[in-house]
Each structure stands twice: as C-alpha cells, then as structure tokens.
Amino acid sequence: MIKVLFFARLREELACDSLSVDFAGSVAELKAALLERGVAWSALEADNIVCAVNQSVAKDSQIIQAGDEVAFYPPVTGG
C-alpha cells in the first residue's frame, strides 16, 4: 500500500485529502490510475501540479514503492 496526499486547492477540487492505495509503478502511472476515479481528478493533469515522493519533489518517471508517501499539490505560496 502507498499513501497519497492532496493539498490546498487540489484537495478541495478532489474533495479528498488522502488515500491509501495498492499501487506499484511510476508517478505518471499513478496519475493515470487516479484519473479513473472521476471527472474531477483531471485536475491532477494540470502542468503546474507538483508531485513529491517521500517528501522530495519527484518527476513523472520516478518509481513508487510499497510504503511510500506520495503527495500532489499546486504551486506553493508561503512566505
């Protein structure tokens, strides 16, 4: 199982802050699998959505393994 987290505007658009899913594959493949959950999930495809794996920013090609924590979030606006 992996844990998937969503933050800020994306969390609201998906009406979901976290999921536990049985998944192995790349970040791009995880996005594709999540898109099947419904029309709102196309928000994940926006160019500016950032993905982090185990709390480090990750590329679409990064491989996710069991036990990993994955997060998707919009551009950051702190400070």
Binding site: A71, Y73, V76, G78
Partner: protein, 151 residues
Amino acid sequence: MRISVRVQEVDFNLSAENNALRADDDGIGAIAQFVGVMRNQNDGDTVSAMELEHYPGMTEKAITEIITEASSRWTLRAATVIHRVGKILPGEQIVWVAVCASHRHEAFQACEFIMDFLKSRAPFWKKETLADGSSRWVDARCSDAAALARW
C-alpha cells in the same frame, strides 16, 4: 552550524528568538533578519484574514535543505526559520528568517537566498478571506520563480 526550523500556529517573539539564535556565540559579527508580515491588500482587494496550510514533515525538510544549501555557499554560524500556519490577520507576523555569520555580506546574502527559495519550494499555501466574506487561494507569482534565477 546551528539550524533551527519551526512551523507553528502561535506568533513568535522576535527579541526572545534573536537571543536564542545568538546563543552566546561570540564569533557572530552579523545577523541578517527578514520578517514577513501579512498585508491587508492583495491584487486590489482588501483582505481580512488568511489561512495558511502546509505539508507537515515536508515543510520542515524542505526548509532545512534550503538552509543547508545556503550554508554550502556562504560561511554561516547559525540560521533559524520560523513560519506560521493556521489563521493569520493583517499586520501579524508570518515568517522569520534570521542568519548569523561572521561578516555582513554572508548574512545578507544567505538570508535573501533562504527566503527566495522558501517562497518557491517550501510547501505552504495561502487562502485569503476578503472583506465581503468570500475566500480564494492565492496564486503563485512569476516574480517568485524569477527571484531564484539570480542565485
């Protein structure tokens, strides 16, 4: 080098934090500090409050990595970043970046570097409430991304 990173809901006391940062280190010759404060205006609208969300764990990790990178570029003695989350009102402090070095050049440069990268890398998101009670997520600014290019 001493590094301290804190994410908290409560406000912070600059005098107390400054004393803690210096920690009787007599090798410190310069302290550069930045305080980010909440404005009552944004994009032409009056803002009455702000809610700051973050990614617990990654926030602290990302800021620590930024400070570590700064310490590889400049010779620093200590650095502290405090960032608030939760509800913040106009005029309140949001963030404090403070850097101690032996000389001012390193302190100034590192303080600005840390703040520029925090704005673009640390996972915080602002949602503002306007005077009419409506709320909206704040968009990232192109100028923030541009600020990184000079480093």
